[in-house]
């Protein structure tokens, strides 16, 4: 039936492309989570009145975040070609997309992390200080756990942006559903392929949103 409706679709190719999209999204998401938390924490801790108040460092991190958020993703990929080549050894395939995906998404997520951290009640941090907690303890036992629901819902938003980025990366050779839709659908005027790829991407987005909402709600004890 699938072959009747979509005569040009090769199921194995679709599965392969879907797998690549998942692969890129999940690995990039893991990288974005770590780098974004790092950036967000740095922004938060070094801000005025923060635990590591430091104007210079804050300015540097904020500038990095702002600059990389300002660069359109498609241009960022091109810009990072030499870096990617050096790091991964190739500029084609899903792995080659990862550096650009992470560097493109982490600053965005970093800002969401910063916002989430700013939402934490100052009193709770003060209470931990009054108990004699080290800054490290405050970060890992207070800041991160207390903002976890917001960190997760921010990650969901970022994941969805990342899925969009993987499709863009796909068009210039990174593989995945974007690649499949572009080369086997658009270039050959086989629009049934484009259509099916779209549907699959939408389903992936829904899955991420659904899982993110469940986790975030489960963690939220407020």
């Amino acid at each position: 039936m699938l072959t009747n409706l979509f005569p040009n679709l090769k199921v194995e190719d679709l599965i392969e492309a879907t797998y690549e999209t998942f692969y890129m999204t999940i690995i990039a998401l893991a990288g974005t989570f770590i780098l974004g938390i790092l950036l967000g924490l740095l922004l938060y801790l070094t801000m005025k009145g923060g635990l590591w108040e430091n104007r210079v460092l804050n300015w540097i991190v904020a500038s990095f975040v702002n600059v990389f958020r300002a660069i359109p993703f498609i241009i960022l990929i091109l810009l990072l070609f030499p870096f990617t080549d050096f790091l991964v050894g190739t500029i084609r395939g899903p792995n080659a997309a990862l550096p650009a995906l992470i560097i493109g998404a982490a600053p965005f997520y970093g800002r969401l992390v910063e916002i989430a951290l700013k939402e934490i009640d100052k009193g709770v941090i003060e209470a931990a200080q009054a108990m004699g907690a080290k800054t490290r303890t405050i970060i890992f036992r207070v800041l991160l756990p207390e903002s976890m629901p917001a960190l997760i819902s921010g990650l969901t938003v970022t994941a969805i942006a990342l899925i969009g980025y993987t499709a863009m990366a796909g068009v210039i050779g990174a593989g995945g559903l974007g690649n499949y839709a572009h080369y086997f659908g658009f270039m050959r005027r086989d629009f049934d392929v484009v259509f099916v790829c779209t549907v699959v991407i939408v389903i992936i987005v829904f899955i991420f949103q659904f899982i993110g909402d469940i986790i975030s709600n489960k963690l939220d004890k407020r």
Binding site: D121, G123, V124, E126, A127, A128, Q129, A130, M131, G132, A133, K134, T137, R141, V142, P145, E146, M148, L219, K221, R222
Partner: protein, 342 residues
């Protein structure tokens, strides 16, 4: 003993600097419940926050026991803070942790091993009366219960000092009383020193031994609670005492005098334990007089009862004099003559 010398805190503002605590000197004895009262902006919160250096002093020294808090480096300050409990107006619990885990947090910070932590947490839950709620999250608790968690948490590392900044201000009167009772209970059981900030005189009246009145960053009056209640010197203090005892008595007095023209009227000042000795009925039995209570209020403090009664005493002239002499000489009640018949 807590010894504070020349403590000063200046906040740098854009235009002018704000001196929140101004060259404050104070000694607080071990095991005392020491109240600090003052109006909003008097510098009370700044004062307690200086004690564990949540706020860095601009000048002066703080000594708790034989530890010079103001001289400690960062690491030693952290260790010292583990022995200074603090509770807050808005409780400041971690919402992501259960009651049990909130109480365990300071123990984690102090590096107490897991088994001992669990044992201690159960002990504390019993102490503050939260048995059965250990696995609840703060959002599932009432304000009073949250403050009990706050108290348990503050006591976890066996502190010698407990700092309370407006610990009952977010609670209703009944819950306030229950929390205050708990604090007295803890003070007696554990013998720890409690420093309690409030803007409500009835809190002072109910649990404190000593009180200091703060105004503009300074302590303007200080002493035993009863003493301050009885003889408030500063006008701020008088206002706070009126919060509890009511005011405008002198207006009422004129009315009393005109109503009971030509009768004997006395004011009896009760200070300390004598109010519990059934004074009125004793006089009525021992002397051949009638006592008519016209007006008054007696209230209980940690150091005994305090208040005054305006009474009319009727009877034979000699008996009246004897009764008054008895009160003056044999009891700690002071007699003030408001009006004599002749």
């Amino acid at each position: 003993m807590i010894s504070i010398k020349g403590l000063r805190k200046v906040f740098q503002a854009k235009e002018d600097n704000i001196t929140a605590v101004d060259r404050l000197n104070l000694d607080i004895k071990d095991g005392e419940i020491f109240g600090v009262i003052g109006y909003s902006g008097a510098g009370k919160s700044t004062f307690v926050r200086l004690l564990n250096r949540l706020e860095e002093p601009s000048e002066g020294s703080i000594k708790i026991g034989d530890r010079e808090i103001t001289a400690l480096n960062k690491r030693d300050l952290r260790l010292a803070r583990q022995e200074i409990g603090m509770i807050f107006q808005h409780f400041n619990l971690l919402w992501s942790r259960t009651v049990k885990d909130n109480i365990a947090f300071p123990l984690e910070i102090a590096g107490v091993p897991k088994e001992e932590r669990e044992r201690r947490v159960l002990e504390l839950i019993q102490l503050v009366g939260l048995a059965g709620r250990e696995n609840a999250y703060p959002s599932q608790l009432s304000g009073g219960q949250k403050q009990r968690v706050g108290i348990a948490r503050a006591l976890a590392n066996n502190p010698k000092v407990l700092l309370c900044d407006e610990a009952t201000s977010a609670l209703d009167p009944e819950t306030t009383n229950a929390i205050l009772d708990l604090l007295v209970d803890i003070n007696k059981k554990l013998g720890l020193t409690i420093i309690l900030i409030t803007h409500e005189m009835h809190v002072i009246r109910k649990i404190c031994n000593q009180v200091a009145v703060m105004e503009n960053g300074k302590i303007v009056e200080q002493g035993e609670v009863l003493e301050v209640f009885l003889k408030p010197k500063q006008s701020v203090t008088k206002k706070f005492v009126e919060q509890v005892m009511g005011s405008g008595e002198d207006d009422d007095l004129e009315q009393l005098q005109s109503t009971y023209k030509g009768e004997d009227i006395f004011r009896l000042h009760f200070v300390g334990d004598s109010a519990n000795q059934a004074l009125i009925s004793k006089i009525a039995k021992q002397f051949n007089v009638d006592i008519n209570i016209l007006q008054g209020k007696i209230t209980q403090t940690q150091m005994g009862a305090y208040g005054n009664l305006i009474v009319q005493i009727n009877g034979d002239e000699r008996e009246k004099d004897n009764a008054v002499a008895f009160i003056t000489e044999e009891t700690s009640v002071e007699v003030e003559v408001i009006q004599r018949a002749n």
